[in-house]
């Protein structure tokens, strides 16, 4: 009996210690969008790489746009420690958002497009500008048309860049903001002449009879989604931030090494989290449209040789410059720009370097 009790005590103690150790794991609160980079992080979590590195990822997948994540932080800076958006919401809505850019999650230029209804007269002209032979549209066909968009985002940036080819800007078209994140539902209820969207909503719209007018990639643009970390959190927890990056880069590396192996999980991600069903082909195609860069390569891109500006600093500077010029005709109270974008001090290359040792452990 005594032996039984002592065994029971031992088991209880063991269980208790498990519970304690799980409870003791430091937490990282991450909010990513319901799209490719959100998937990579979700996949990494599914593999248990956070626990393996000794922390617990508290992941929220959000579905509207990057600006909403900026607004969320402004209201409550503890709502997330780490997030990921394209450049546009950060530049146009980053006021009082004290974050540092620490890595590039992906480039979604091939998955960000302007679309129009198949019978739109926008498709009557192709190659209006000889420098863009595949791009559809003419000033006459575009002027005054209604474009639905998901707020201040890289999609409206793409729309503005496209309009620029025809000597037009956002004032020359009618803009309607999608009311919520259920784009597919909205498109079934209401028909819009044209749209500016990114994947996966882009794929849904294509199924609903819309056709691609132009992608950001065809316009020669890059749309990097960068990982951003709350400055205070990062300075207090540098190793934790590095571990988080290691986990993300592990998933990213699988995309580089064996993209096919991610297809089932990508399908499951959308099924489980968004109740959306995509074929394996669609999933593979979408994965391929999101270009990713390895950890080793990014360490080089973030590195400053001496006091020279790094590749990422120059890229961010150019993106800021383009975003400001292209979106300056956008008149909305959603725009709240921070003085921090005046220089690229918000880029921090320390964490990506630190991540390497943890990445090698996985």
């Amino acid at each position: 009996m005594n032996r039984f009790i002592s065994k029971l005590v031992c088991v209880c103690a063991l269980m208790f210690s498990f519970i304690c150790s799980a409870a003791e794991l430091p937490k990282v609160k991450a909010t990513f969008l319901m799209e490719h980079e959100g998937f990579l992080l979700w996949y990494a979590e599914q593999q248990g790489w956070d626990k393996k590195l000794g922390f617990e990822l508290d992941l929220t997948i959000s579905s509207y746009n990057g600006l909403a994540l900026m607004n969320q932080y402004r209201k409550d800076p503890t709502s997330w420690n780490i997030s990921c958006t394209s450049h546009v919401p950060f530049i146009m809505g980053g006021k009082d958002v004290f974050v540092e850019v620490i890595a590039i999650a992906n480039d979604e230029a091939a998955a960000t497009s302007v679309l129009a209804m198949e019978n739109s007269d926008i498709f009557k002209t192709q190659g209006y500008d000889e420098y863009f032979p595949k791009v559809y549209g003419s000033p006459e066909a575009i002027k005054g048309k209604t474009f639905a968009f998901k707020g201040v985002s890289s999609a409206i940036y793409t729309l503005a860049r496209w309009l620029d080819i025809f000597g037009l800007d956002l004032n020359d078209v009618k803009l309607i903001k999608f009311p919520d994140s259920d784009i597919s539902g909205e498109l079934q209820k209401n028909k819009y002449h044209a749209l500016a969207l990114w994947s996966p909503d882009l794929n849904d719209a294509l199924k609903l009879g819309y056709k691609e007018v132009v992608s950001a990639e065809q316009l020669g643009e890059v749309i990097p989604c960068t990982i951003k970390v709350d400055e205070k959190f990062a300075h207090e927890n540098p190793e934790l931030v590095a571990k988080f990056l290691a986990m993300y880069f592990k998933a990213l590396q699988i995309q580089l090494d064996d993209i096919d192996s991610l297809v089932d999980s990508y399908q499951q991600f959308y099924r489980q989290l968004a109740s959306k069903e995509y074929t394996k082909e669609e999933c593979l195609d979408d994965l391929k449209k999101h270009h990713v860069t390895s950890l080793d390569e990014q360490i080089k891109l973030f590195e400053q040789q001496g006091h020279r500006r790094s590749w990422i600093q120059n890229l961010e500077k150019d993106l800021t410059s383009n975003t400001l010029v292209v979106l300056k005709s956008l008149d909305t109270s959603d725009i709240q720009i921070s003085n921090r974008i005046k220089s690229q001090k918000y880029i921090n290359s320390e964490y990506i370097k630190l991540a390497k040792k943890y990445f090698d452990q996985l």
Binding site: Y131, K328, I335, I337, S338, K342
Partner: protein, 367 residues
Amino acid sequence: MVSCLLRIFFGVILLFFSTMQVMAFDLPRIKVTMLMEHEGFLMWYAKKQGFDKKVGVNIDLTILDTNGIDMMDRHRKDPSSWNVTCVTSIPLIVGTNQMPLEIVGIANDESNTTGIYVKPDSDILKEKGWNEDYPDVYGSPETIKGKTFAIKTLTSGAYMLVKYLEIFDMDFSDVNIVDLAGKDSILALEKGEVDGIAIWSPDTYLAEQKGLKLVSTADDVDAEIPMMFLVDKEYTEDHEDVIAKMLAAYMMAVETQIENPRSLTKDYQKFLRKYSNLEFSKEFCEYDILRHSVLPMESQLKLFEKKAHGKSSIQRLESTIASSLMLILYDSNTSDFTMTSKQVKNPRFVTDKYLKQARRILSNIKK
């Protein structure tokens, strides 16, 4: 008989001069207002040499010792004040206020003659080439931070200071800014009221005469400052050939500068004396002419040519300057973005058609 011959002789002379006058009077006139600086000189020289008459235009030239924003203001108040002017992109972007103007050519590049100056004992001079990509530039984040710079806001001086700070990963929030123009800023620097100034030629001459030291030129920090010929869009409608002829006359002066720049020294000295009432040394005039780069016709046409992303180099440069100016103007503590973006105009009209016409005129003359 003699008196009869004399009468005929004077009659012929009179007829000759009156015909000459009528000919000159008949030439189409174009009102050109230029700043009292190098490109203004080249236009003045073109007129002095009669290049305008040679290509069949009468340049009605005004030289003003002022700045680009003032040029814009004059035109806004009285659109007939000039048909053509020449300023940097900055007043064009922030000072046009819906005035339709067309960029038709490049007069010169001021990036070698615009610079940041400090006193000889400034600690900014302690380090050179801090950023290895900019080996000729003095300064370091530690010595620049918190310093006071005098600049005339919304000029190429302000633009170059931003580009200078950028190489140290800094911006206007890291320094203090005082709004002062050329000569006044030199005085303030001498008095020790400010730590640095951003000025352009010919004020740079005054600064150098007073022993102030050059920290960086705009060219050293990749701040291109081309002076653009701007034409009133309304005027362009009926005067295409006149604009092309004016450009052709100017390009003849440009050719002289390219072929034999030193031959212009005396005339440049005369020009500066006439319009500034100051004496500039022959050495400075020669130096200043050599420092101002001018673009031959073919190079200009290349800059106007559409390239990657369907934009010409000129259009891309305008966009870069426009976004820099938005960042200068915008302050999240005091202004809102819509207000700032309304201040900054993207130049929409850029054309090389007059330059191409001017090229034909020049090649016909050479034939």
